[in-house]
């Protein structure tokens, strides 16, 4: 599969020497570029407009989160997780609190579980909306961008109702959630669930069967299931290659096993398949949210489990992962029994998904790079941590 001189985002010396004397040009895409979704930098070797080689350069947004974590107490680190994938902060919180609860063996009350699932799914919708918006914008469909942001606004309003913040919510807590749902939330969320599928139709009308969209996405940046897994691709990106793997289903955490929903899988392996997967996921998430709302409306109860005042987990190490909107988000926590983590490693889905980018785009045109980056949906805050 891989050819001489190219190794996952790395360009070997001899290939570089060889290319320097030919008519290939090296072009620097990023770190400031309109469609690298942040400070991603790609060094592309082009022959005409065809990509011969790619080197992915990351780290421009590195904030040393894992080092910071070692000097903070466990609850103090929670707000930092929001800043990983800043457009789906609830999902990031979710991964961290799950790992902590696993480490400490904390029981989370039923109501909090449902609230968490609901918030995580709303986050997934909003994250996918941002993805669709930027992906479509990259391919030139500008109007979709604004339609998506219109609908995302409704979700952000819901977040604001619950915790006062719109983006970096820090709503989850180790052992539960910060507070119960405010009055009027359920009605508003229900309204959202009702209108969202109708609004989502707008995007389909614009691009789903648009010939130009199809010609830009079908058979572009293909990656087989085998290669994808081998290269660490997870989440919607690998489900676009026909792999039935969703952590919510396979290792159900929280209450996902009590809800009725389906994994979105497509077998096209290309940009269009990944697009369809995310479209379907948004609708499935909407289904999950309304089921949670049904339950939350009827029941009542505490939203916080029994958690000691000072969080001092037992010595040991755990790994817990959730299905974040971008893929498998995992937290590996090593505890030495003190109130601060000894070592905390974040398995960021965007980071892992980027590994396969050079393989996807090899031999394609510059325009396809944009489509490919869009289709794996990277957020640089998470890549660089």
């Amino acid at each position: 599969m891989l050819e001489r001189g190219v190794v996952e985002g790395r360009v070997s010396e001899d290939l570089m020497r060889e290319t320097l004397k030919t008519k290939e040009i090296w072009i620097n895409m990023g770190p400031q570029h309109p469609s690298t979704h942040g400070v991603l930098r790609l060094v592309l070797a082009l022959e005409g407009e065809r990509i011969v080689d790619t080197e992915v350069v990351i780290g421009y947004l590195h904030r040393g989160m894992e080092k910071l974590a070692e000097s903070l107490t466990y609850p103090q680190f929670l707000p930092y997780t929001d800043r990983l994938d800043y457009i789906s902060s609830n999902a990031m919180n979710f991964g961290y609190v799950l790992a902590m609860e696993k480490l400490m063996g904390i029981e989370v009350p039923e109501r909090a579980q449902y609230i968490r699932v609901m918030m995580a799914e709303l986050t997934r919708i909003s994250s996918h909306l941002v993805w669709l918006a930027t992906h479509a914008l990259d391919i030139g469909a500008m109007t979709v961008f604004l339609y998506c942001f219109r609908d995302r606004e409704a979700i952000l309003d819901l977040f604001e109702m619950v915790c006062g913040a719109r983006l970096t919510t820090t709503y989850f807590r180790i052992g539960g959630v910060a507070n119960d749902l405010p009055e009027g939330f359920i009605e508003q969320a229900r309204e959202f669930c009702k209108v969202f599928p109708k609004k989502a139709k707008d995007y389909d009308d614009l691009i789903l069967k648009n010939r130009m969209w199809l010609s830009r996405t079908v058979n572009v940046a293909k990656i087989s299931a085998e290669d994808g897994l081998n290269l660490g691709l997870s989440g919607p990106s690998i489900r676009g290659s026909g792999v039935y793997w969703d952590i919510r289903k396979d290792e159900p955490y929280s209450n996902y096993d009590k809800l009725d929903w389906e994994i979105a899988v497509e077998s096209g392996c290309d940009v269009y398949a990944r697009y369809l997967v995310r479209l379907k996921e948004m609708r499935e998430s909407c289904k999950i949210v309304s089921q949670c709302l049904d339950i939350l409306e009827k029941t009542n109860g505490p939203v916080m489990g029994k958690v000691p005042k000072v969080i001092r987990p037992p010595e040991g190490e755990v790994y817990a992962s959730v299905e974040a909107p971008k893929g498998e988000l995992g937290f590996y926590i090593v505890s030495d029994g003190s109130p601060k983590p000894y070592r905390l490693k974040i398995r960021a889905p965007s980071f892992a998904n980027l590994i396969s980018l050079p393989v996807m785009i090899k031999g394609h045109l510059v325009a396809d790079v944009i489509a490919a980056i869009g289709s794996i949906d990277v957020v640089l805050g998470e890549v660089d941590r």
Binding site: V7, R10, G64, E66, L231, E315, G316, F351
Partner: protein, 197 residues
């Protein structure tokens, strides 16, 4: 198994009166099918097996990690086709101060396992790149952050930090804000060079 007992002991001693730590259900690790299968096939390469919060950890002999990984991927009973991450951890007080942790997942069998390799200062571990190509980046990160060297890696260089960065920040002896004056010096030299442009 000694280690686990040790852990349990410490747990008990640190316990505050009002806190309840749920007891780990006693599981005999040796009876778990995965453990049995691995021990059967590659038992001589496994130093230790431990079990905590439902997670199985194998401590693998350093020289044989590639062999074990290849087995875990290819065997039909284990079939770990997905490398979740590679982590470097620094334990300065131990004899072998570095630990490389591999998390594996199987999308067909839906199970996970953790492998560990311990390294002394200056020791290298074989790269698992031939088994899972995603290791190329994960190992670069472990090298960048903790300074673990991977033999036969296709291009071991820094990934998140600038290429001329000194030191490995996730080592325990690395100060939170970097060595004294290093940051200022680095910024000064780098910003000066950009100003010249």
């Amino acid at each position: 198994m000694d280690e686990e007992k040790e852990k349990k002991g410490k747990e008990a001693s640190k316990e505050t009166p009002k806190r309840e730590v749920p007891q780990e259900p006693q599981v005999d690790v040796e009876t778990l099918p995965l453990v049995r299968r691995v021990k059967e096939a590659k038992g001589e390469f496994i130093d230790d097996v431990s079990y905590f919060r439902g997670e199985i950890t194998f401590l693998v002999k350093r020289e044989h990690i590639l062999d074990v990984c290849r087995f875990l991927r290819d065997d039909s009973e284990t079939s770990f086709d997905f490398l979740t991450e590679v982590i470097g951890v620094h334990y300065p007080q131990r004899d072998k101060p570095f630990e490389v942790v591999y998390h594996l997942y199987s999308t067909s069998k839906r199970h996970r396992v953790r492998l560990k390799v311990r390294l002394a200062e200056g020791e290298e571990v074989e790269s698992v790149y031939p088994v899972w190509r995603s290791a190329s980046w994960y190992e670069r990160e472990a090298y960048d952050m903790v300074g673990i060297r991977f033999a036969n890696h296709p291009g071991l260089k820094r990934i998140l930090l600038p290429e001329d960065w000194e030191g490995h920040p996730l080592r325990k002896d690395y100060p939170l804000q970097g060595p004294e004056g290093y940051r200022e010096e680095w910024l000064r030299s780098h910003c000066a060079s950009t100003n010249k442009l």
